[in-house]
């Protein structure tokens, strides 16, 4: 049973991944549609970042995590190096949790 779950998940996930890549070759998209593909990908990534920053299991994630993400976002805005953005976001959240902020 377990092996069936893993195989089904692996096959289905790979199917999604490869379908988009191979479909791109077959589809003869007009210019405006091709232009929308990166916009769509950016929208998905923005939605992922926003939901991951704010929510956990369908509810609010608490204050520590969005506060850390906000610090990272401000640093990125000021064109800080990427490594600093990631480390500062994690450190802010970790310190807030250490201080007892949920």
């Amino acid at each position: 049973m377990l092996i069936a779950v893993i195989l089904a998940l692996a096959a289905g996930t790979y199917g999604f991944r490869v379908a988009g890549v191979l479909l791109r070759d077959r589809l003869d998209l007009p210019e405006w549609a091709r232009h929308l593909l990166p916009v769509g990908a950016a929208t998905l990534l923005a939605a992922l970042a926003a939901t991951a920053a704010l929510t956990e299991a369908g509810g609010f994630a608490g204050y520590a995590r969005p506060a850390g993400v906000l610090v990272g976002l401000l640093l990125a805005w000021r064109r800080a190096p990427f490594v600093l953005v990631v480390v500062a976001a994690a450190a802010t959240t970790a310190v807030l949790r250490l201080l007892g902020v949920a």
């Binding site: 377990l2 092996i3 069936a4 779950v5 195989l7 998940l9 289905g12 996930t13 790979y14 999604f16 991944r17 490869v18 379908a19 988009g20 890549v21 479909l23 070759d25 929308l36 593909l37 990166p38 769509g40 990908a41 950016a42 929208t43 998905l44 990534l45 923005a46 939605a47 992922l48 970042a49 926003a50 939901t51 991951a52 920053a53 704010l54 929510t55 956990e56 299991a57 369908g58 994630a61 995590r65 969005p66 850390g68 993400v69 990272g72 976002l73 990125a76 805005w77 990427f82 490594v83 953005v85 990631v86 480390v87 976001a89 994690a90 450190a91 959240t93 310190v95 807030l96 949790r97």
Partner: protein, 248 residues
């Protein structure tokens, strides 16, 4: 030109390493959690190697242990459906040969996609995709193996604030593309839709719902440039799907 390429690659490598370190730690926590939940070591390792999708893996372990294997598959696939549009956007960034596309597809994650799309299209984007894809795959699987070995000794990623590291990294990679006005508008509206829908829809659907924001440029395009009005009354069919008992 060569040196410009090299410095670009070195920067991508350093940036990927930061996310890779976080993935190593979260992978270790996946390995520890899965084994603690009663999954055999081989199944835990196989999941990370063959499914290779963190959110779906955590969710699947929870649902399998709860005795709903079918839900584990369906919920995991719903969560991973976003990879299809990622593949459409990446397209040739994986390489021109068929073998590269077939293998590269397996390495596609949110982060690898973000790293690739943050680079200009062409050879630079292809190298960024493969660099991020291979390194993050190795980090996730090495982390899982460490977690399986260490068991309960693998630390708590929440205590390290790693749950803030991933969204901050994604946002930082996205910022340059958000300088484009249209992309910014669609992405912000989509992200807002996804956050609002999260309490209502099963995991995975809210993020897909964000694509409804693409109606903004589509409607603007259908209307001739004469009137720049954008009545975005496109109601993204909001079927009230009951929120599943899924957790990440």
């Amino acid at each position: 030109m060569r040196t410009a390429y090299r410095t670009g690659d070195a920067r991508v490598l350093r940036d990927v390493a930061a996310i890779g370190a976080a993935m190593l730690a979260v992978g270790a926590s996946f390995g520890a959690v899965a084994v603690a939940a009663g999954l055999p070591a081989w199944a835990t390792l196989a999941m990370s190697a063959f499914v290779y999708a963190g959110g779906a893996q955590f969710m699947a372990v929870g649902l399998v242990v709860a005795g709903s294997p079918l839900a584990a598959v369906l919920a995991g696939l719903l969560l991973n459906a976003r990879h299809l549009p990622f593949g459409l956007a990446l397209g040739g960034a994986l390489g021109s040969r068929r073998a590269q596309r077939l293998l590269g597809s397996h390495l596609m994650t949110d982060e690898a996609t973000a790293f690739a799309l943050a680079r200009p299209a062409g050879p630079e984007r292809r190298r960024a995709f493969w660099l991020a894809g291979v390194l993050l795959f190795l980090a996730w699987n090495a982390g899982t193996a460490l977690g399986v070995l260490a068991g309960g000794a693998a630390g708590d990623p929440a205590a390290l604030g790693l749950d803030a590291a991933f969204p901050a990294g994604l946002a930082a990679l996205l910022l340059p593309s958000l300088r484009d006005r249209e992309t910014r508008r669609v992405a912000l509206v989509g992200a807002g839709l996804a956050v609002l829908a999260t309490p209502l829809l099963p995991a995975g659907l809210p993020v897909l719902l964000a694509l409804a924001a693409l109606a903004l440029p589509l409607l603007a395009r259908r209307r001739p440039p004469a009137a720049p009005s954008e009545t975005a009354d496109e109601a993204p069919d909001r079927r009230s799907v009951r929120a599943g008992e899924v957790s990440c």
